[in-house]
């Protein structure tokens, strides 16, 4: 490497206008949430993979502690202070929460323990009327939300989603699983009605699901467009623009956001413009990003490397709309995605082929069990099945205290050299 590179923690340079302005959407959404609360309307704190359309249909404004923690990872109270994520994590640790615990949990618990919920970026998350969590993705969030419910003295509902282990030809959830999960959705609606008085209106839910479905279709289209060479939209752009789809699905504004994004990506492809001028190799980012150091996505650009694809937060195809039975539709949507490594690893390999990935950067998130557990098997599969090298970067999701610039720089540089050598020797990078 000719230049001496610095891996300092900083924000990323995004290649798309919509991505650069996405932060405004987030600020606006928070402001709407606070206004909603001020107007006496109910607020829920929830997490990824709960079907958001239910909230919008029931008149709740959702906040997401995990997303809030990511926000805290990049913000400081004053230019001289530590990141808000560190401030909150410390509060939690001093109350007895181990530093080995999920970074999101430590940060949001510290935020709650701090007492004044407005003493935080964007005025914090508005005080909740209820908490809703799910067993999807990981089970840490079950205890995390239980703990928060006790601290805030606010009722909690847990959606118990059965793990989907599919065998060979049998790729559909079993009837008892669908029945069980559907009963959870019904119970959730009763729970919300009990607390807020709002009755469940299937028409309203269908309206939100229409928006949600259309939004998801747009996101699928964008995912498809991203396969183009040169890469028109990278991981920095991807992570910056996942918020509306992840957290506001079911609203018109989310739909409009992705329409603008899709149009911009189409425009880029038409003009033959990629993320950078001379794209030499494309990388996969596996896992949740190091929110406090998004600049890492630009790291390889000086040598022609771009991050082209990230599996985290990206949508899957949803089953068709079923206005006669929207709860059944939601249950199917959630239960038809496999959750074991025997399904997720082959799917990842397939995506690497589709996106012409030459190397993988695997975020070894030291406190995120769901992400780090398959990482060694993923590395092995990438090497064995696709001949793709990968590198593990040790870091926390939101807590930069354990981040070592030196170690990351060394590994990334060695990794880039490995890939460039292959490129220069003429070996095909596009498997």
């Amino acid at each position: 490497m000719e230049e001496e590179k610095q891996v300092v923690t900083k924000g990323s340079q995004k290649s798309l206008e919509v991505a650069r302005n996405a932060w405004k959407f987030i600020v606006q959404d928070y402001a709407e949430g606070h206004a909603h609360k001020k107007a006496g309307k109910p607020v829920v704190w929830s997490c990824a993979l709960v079907e958001k359309e239910l909230y919008h249909a029931m008149g709740l404004h959702p906040f997401y502690p995990e997303q809030f923690a990511a926000l805290c990872a990049v913000r400081r109270k004053t230019p001289d202070s530590v990141k808000e994520a560190v401030r909150f994590a410390r509060i939690a640790e001093q109350a007895g929460y181990s530093s080995d615990l999920c970074g999101y949990e430590r940060v949001s618990t510290g935020f709650v323990l701090n007492g004044d919920l407005a003493d935080a970026p964007l005025d914090g998350m508005a005080p909740p009327d209820m908490l809703v969590t799910t067993s999807s993705v990981c089970d840490v969030r079950l205890k995390w939300f239980e703990d928060m419910a006790q601290r805030l003295n606010v009722p909690l509902f847990t959606l118990d989603r059965p793990e989907r282990r599919f065998d060979g030809i049998m790729q559909y959830p079993k009837p008892h699983e669908t029945r069980y999960y559907r009963s959870q959705l019904e119970d959730l609606l009763s729970f919300i009605t009990e607390i807020t008085g709002t009755k469940y209106d299937p028409d309203r839910l269908n309206e939100c699901l229409d928006w949600g479905y259309k939004t998801n279709e747009l996101r699928l289209e964008i995912l498809e467009l991203r396969k183009a060479v040169p890469s028109p939209m990278g991981c920095a752009d991807g992570f910056a623009t996942m918020y509306p789809g992840m957290y506001c699905s079911g609203t018109k504004k989310a739909y409009e956001f992705y329409r603008a994004l899709r149009d911009e990506v189409r425009g880029k492809i038409k003009a033959g413009k990629g993320q950078i001028e001379k794209e030499k190799f494309r990388l996969l980012w596996y896992g949740i990003p190091t929110w406090f150091n998004m600049g890492i996505f630009n790291y390889f650009e000086p040598v022609g490397g771009v991050f082209a694809y990230e599996p985290a937060y990206n949508p899957h195809p949803w089953p068709p709309r079923n206005p006669k039975d929207p709860l059944e539709e939601i249950a199917l949507r959630t239960l038809t995605i496999g959750s074991t490594m025997s399904t997720t690893i082959p799917a990842l390999l397939e995506q690497c082929r589709e996106y012409k990935i030459a190397g993988g950067v695997l975020a070894y998130l030291i406190t995120c069990r769901a992400i780090y557990l398959p990482s060694l098997e993923i590395r092995r599969a990438l090497e064995k099945e696709l001949g793709i090298p990968s590198v593990l970067i040790e870091c926390d999701l939101v807590d930069e205290r354990t981040f070592s610039e030196g170690q990351v720089k060394t590994r990334m540089d060695a990794f880039a050299e490995q890939i460039l050598k292959k490129h220069e020797s003429g070996k095909s990078l596009n498997n």
Binding site: P155, I169, R179
Partner: protein, 389 residues
């Protein structure tokens, strides 16, 4: 100390292999006390709890990352090294993020003695049986759901073993398990006295061996042993009365009981899976047996589980139940590094123990090695000395 308990506790593989040789019957390994092992017993299989070695990993470290649960990795390593080659099957429930993935790891990495029977990608005679255990153990639909899950499990077993498991078989299992539970409860009650009727370490040996031998056999031996202890008026050494909570407590780290005793304490009650959780929940013999087993399995208050209560506090109730009548003077939490469920609930439980029961709490971060346990000695000593005043 009745030497059969000690024999099982100290050399579990030899003891179980010997039993297998003598009886010619099958042995299945399982993870976690919430596993519906009664179904295995009904099929004339001996269910044995899988534990690790506490030794440096030889093979599993190439597959399972270092931050993950040291206990699970060690178990997998033992499997990969062939230490469990006498098992005829393995049962893995969806306990937590890590154990759930053990299904994949064990299936793909540990050699199996029988051949798969593949039909269109489905193995109808699996070696590793996965149980889709609910995360929320209460709720209006959870029992019908879980009974269905168990029916599927039973079906896989029946195909693998080429036999049926009847309701009578299940009922017999329920009865045998209840008999052992009543002796275990009896042993448990004996520790209420001051000094306790038997030491923490002895109680652990008895509990651990119950997870390695048939319940009816264990019940018989235990009854005789407890009768003997009672007639002798046996008492454990005196000590500060300690409540022990935490992650995996098997032959790798059970020395903590001895360290506590040597430091002037005595464990009289616990919140452990190789402990009260393994026998606390009785089986309701008035229900159809599969449902009784499902309810018992669901009722196990493992930290990873959540409930439907508006503001959940179920674990605190369990802790209260197992701590209040024992005149506890101090609580020790031994938690493994990756155990987020316990790490997350710890501050709350610690605060409640202090404010509601006025009990001081010591937190020990375990690494699932016996050396690691030894290193905790000075802290345990300091803690007990602090309570003595």
């Amino acid at each position: 100390m009745h030497e059969i308990f000690a024999r099982y506790a100290e050399n579990r593989h030899e003891a179980v292999k010997k039993w297998k040789q003598e009886t010619g019957k099958k042995v299945f390994g399982y993870f976690c006390c919430l596993t519906p092992e009664e179904i295995l017993y009904a099929a004339d299989i001996l269910p044995v709890r899988i534990t690790g070695t506490g030794e440096p990993l030889q093979q599993a470290d190439l597959h399972v990352p270092p931050n993950s649960c040291a206990f699970a990795r060690s178990c997998l390593d033992a499997g990969m090294r062939g230490m469990y080659d006498y098992l005829d099957g393995v049962v893995i429930p969806n306990s937590c993020d890590i154990i759930f993935n053990m299904e994949f790891f064990w299936r793909t990495l540990v050699p199996r003695p029988t051949k798969p029977a593949m039909i269109a990608g489905v193995d109808i005679k699996p070696y590793v049986h996965y149980i889709n255990y609910p995360e929320k153990i209460t709720g209006r639909e959870v029992v019908p759901y879980y009974v269905e899950v168990l029916k599927n499990f039973k079906q896989d077993l029946e195909r693998s073993l080429n036999r049926s498991i009847t309701d009578d078989d299940l009922a017999r299992a329920v009865s045998a398990y209840n008999q052992d539970k009543s002796q275990m409860k009896r042993m448990y009650e004996m520790r209420k006295s001051d000094p306790a009727g038997l030491s923490g370490y002895e109680a652990w040996q008895i509990t651990y061996s119950s997870l390695l031998m048939p319940k009816d056999k264990h019940a018989g031996i235990l009854k005789g042993y407890l009768d003997e202890l009672e007639s002798n008026g046996h008492k454990a050494p005196e000590g500060i009365r300690i409540y022990l909570s935490g992650s995996a407590m098997d032959q790798v780290n059970a020395d903590i009981y001895k360290i506590i005793e040597e430091s002037g304490g005595q464990v009289v009650s616990d919140d452990l899976c190789v402990g009260t959780r393994s026998f606390w929940y009785p089986l309701n013999e008035e229900l159809p047996p599969l449902e009784a087993i499902a309810r018992r399995s669901l009722g196990t208050a493992c930290p990873r589980s959540t409930v439907t209560a508006r503001i959940p506090e179920n674990r605190w109730t369990h802790l209260l139940n197992t701590a209040k009548d024992f005149n506890i003077e101090g609580a020790i939490f031994y938690v493994l590094k990756c155990c987020d469920a316990r790490l997350g609930e710890f501050p709350h439980l610690r605060d409640k123990l202090k404010t509601e029961l006025d009990i001081p709490v010591l937190f020990l971060e375990g690494d699932y090695t016996s050396e690691g346990v030894e290193q905790m000695r000075s802290r345990v000593e300091a803690f007990i000395e602090m309570i003595e005043g």
